[in-house]
């Protein structure tokens, strides 16, 4: 048998050529797939590190001034850069798939930039969908309560004072549970809360705070209802000017009312519409407190229209105490309560939100408040503490503000 050895390699290589080519293709495909998997694993690993701890923050800087010293949102005729300026830093730790810890620290110009935990809680989502949270939480009375200080997520320069100024505390220590019911195109959220709080400005203790809210949204329409109640205890103090001698004025705490575990209730309804262009937001609230502490109704309607990065808006808001007959000036104490608590006013705002650059919105707002009736309009500074006379019967407030998130 004669074998052409010379021809053999040629024959082999001819026979192998397609399979080598095939093997190359297969290897290439395999390598490409492996590369893809490595990339995916890497991004998953990076993601899981990033997922465990998240840091976010928001910052607002505001200039406020007024045409007089009535004291709307603490504004006066000189420029105020503190009242609505704030910084918030939030850390979210994922302890497990279902458990997380959230800490939100806030510093407000209004409180001399003192660091405070606004949210500090542990949350757990059970298999059945119930989410339980415990710690320091926001009192979810209003539509914007949960993100009251995150101006970037709000269309206006500030939530209307007439409504949002009615409850003098915004967080509580305790627990809350929420449950989402998912429909085809919308979500119903039910929330319950309970705990205690304290009014920073007056030192009033808020105990046995309980409540519930329900809201439904399809991301265009949002409808909401809320009820809450609490016991209020302690003295309601007010800072007054005392004239020690002619021209020598000192400030002193004056106890306007002694609260003795009085029951207070809060009822509110709200609705909003946002189709991407047209924005409409409305809320109405009623507060009732036993004894001479004021019962008040309040409400607002905001309408806005987005034109690219500009969103002009108008707001009409009102508030009025409903139990002025409980504070008739039959004694000095009652007369003081009448001056301190009786309040009514209308407020009209014209504003513009400008989404100037990524993650930064600039807002301009002019608010005019009037119709104070026989009252101070709800501004303690608007009463002459010596004569008991109301000083101003209207006020105009200018606001320029930036809101950023990071």
């Amino acid at each position: 048998m004669k074998f052409n050895l010379k021809a053999l390699p040629v024959a082999i290589s001819i026979a192998m050529a397609p399979s080598i080519a095939l093997a190359d293709d297969a290897a290439d495909a395999k390598i490409a797939k492996l590369e893809q998997q490595v990339q995916a694993l890497q991004s998953q690993q990076n993601a899981s590190l990033k997922d465990k701890v998240k840091l976010n923050g928001f910052i607002s800087g505001a200039y406020i001034s007024s045409d007089n010293d009535a004291g709307y949102n603490s504004a006066d005729t000189s420029a105020n850069f503190s009242e609505d300026s704030k910084v918030g830093l939030q850390a979210t730790f994922d302890i497990s798939d279902r458990t997380q810890a959230v800490l939100q620290l806030m510093m407000r110009g209004e409180y001399d930039w003192e660091v405070e935990a606004e949210w500090a809680y542990l949350a757990h989502r059970f298999e059945n969908g119930v989410k339980l949270r415990g710690g320091k939480l926001r009192v979810p009375l209003y539509m914007y309560s949960d993100y009251l200080d995150v101006g970037y997520a709000q269309p206006f320069a500030r939530p209307p004072e007439e409504v949002y100024g009615a409850v003098p505390f915004s967080s509580y220590t305790g627990a809350g549970a929420s449950y989402d019911v998912d429909f085809d195109d919308s979500t119903l959220t039910m929330q319950m809360f309970g705990g205690e709080s304290k009014v920073k400005s007056t030192g009033t203790e808020v105990s046995n705070l309980i409540g519930a809210n329900v809201s439904w949204t399809d991301e265009t329409w949002t409808l909401r209802a809320v009820y809450g109640q609490a016991q209020l205890d302690g003295s309601v103090k007010s800072e007054v000017d005392v004239e020690l001698a002619p021209g020598v004025i000192t400030q002193a705490d004056y106890t306007v009312l002694e609260l003795n575990d009085e029951k207070g209730t809060f009822t509110g309804v709200g609705a909003s519409y946002d189709n991407g262009e047209v924005i409409a937001i409305t809320e109405w609230t009623r507060i009732e407190v036993d004894a001479a502490y004021p019962d008040s109704d309040s409400g607002y309607l905001t309408l806005g229209y987005r034109i690219k990065e500009f969103t002009p808006y108008v707001t009409v808001a009102y508030m009025k105490t409903q139990d002025n007959d409980e504070r008739l000036p039959i004694s000095v104490a009652a007369a003081t309560q009448m001056l301190a608590f009786n309040a009514e006013r209308m407020a009209y705002s014209l504003g513009l939100r400008w989404d100037a650059i990524d993650n930064v919105a600039v807002k301009f707002d002019v608010t005019y408040a009037d119709d104070f009736g026989d009252t101070s309009g709800g501004f303690l500074n608007n009463v002459d503490s010596n004569t008991g006379q109301i000083i101003y019967d209207d006020t105009l407030i200018y606001t320029v503000k930036f809101d950023a998130v990071f």
């Binding site: 893809q36 998997q37 990339q39 995916a40 694993l41 991004s43 998953q44 993601a47 990033k50 998240k54 976010n56 928001f58 918030g88 939030q90 979210t92 997380q100 959230v102 939100q104 949210w119 809680y121 949350a123 949270r133 926001r138 949960d146 993100y147 995150v150 970037y152 997520a153 709000q154 989402d180 998912d182 085809d184 195109d185 979500t187 991301e219 265009t220 946002d274 189709n275 991407g276 987005r306 990065e309 989404d355 990524d358 993650n359 998130v405």
Partner: protein, 131 residues
């Protein structure tokens, strides 16, 4: 005449498909998705086992996608997520820089969904919704 109509119809369909833009993609093993489930997924609601990927902010495909599926503009979406983040309700989905990265992220995880321009679709992923 008939050929003329065919040519016209073909060129029209070519124009339409050139404009067809964004599609929701899933792993090759995944089933179709409803528009409402997609809206929920991209707003961090609904089934929490779904892993959502987004293109980065400023990407035109991202804006087109959200206009079609969640109905939110870039600014609205940012405001929405800042609300969710600062109320502890959730964080925005992970982002990927390109259609290629989107495809590899979705291809490597059976629970992942994302979106790309229809022109970028290939065999590694499956179109699960044409919004």
């Amino acid at each position: 005449m008939k050929t003329l109509f065919t040519v016209l119809a073909l060129s029209l369909s070519a124009i339409v498909s050139a404009n067809a833009a964004v599609v929701v993609i899933g792993n090759t093993a995944s089933g179709d998705m409803s528009a409402s489930d997609a809206k929920k997924a991209f707003l961090g609601k609904g089934d929490s086992s779904v892993v959502v990927y987004e293109l980065e902010e400023g990407n035109a495909t991202r804006s087109a996608f959200h206009q079609a599926v969640t109905g939110k503009s870039d600014a609205q979406l940012k405001a929405f997520w800042s609300k969710q983040v600062f109320t502890g309700k959730g964080n925005p989905p992970a982002t990927v820089p390109s259609a290629a990265a989107m495809k590899s992220a979705v291809a490597s995880n059976p629970n992942a969904i994302g979106y790309i321009d229809e022109a970028d679709v290939d065999a590694t992923v499956k179109v699960i919704l044409k919004p």
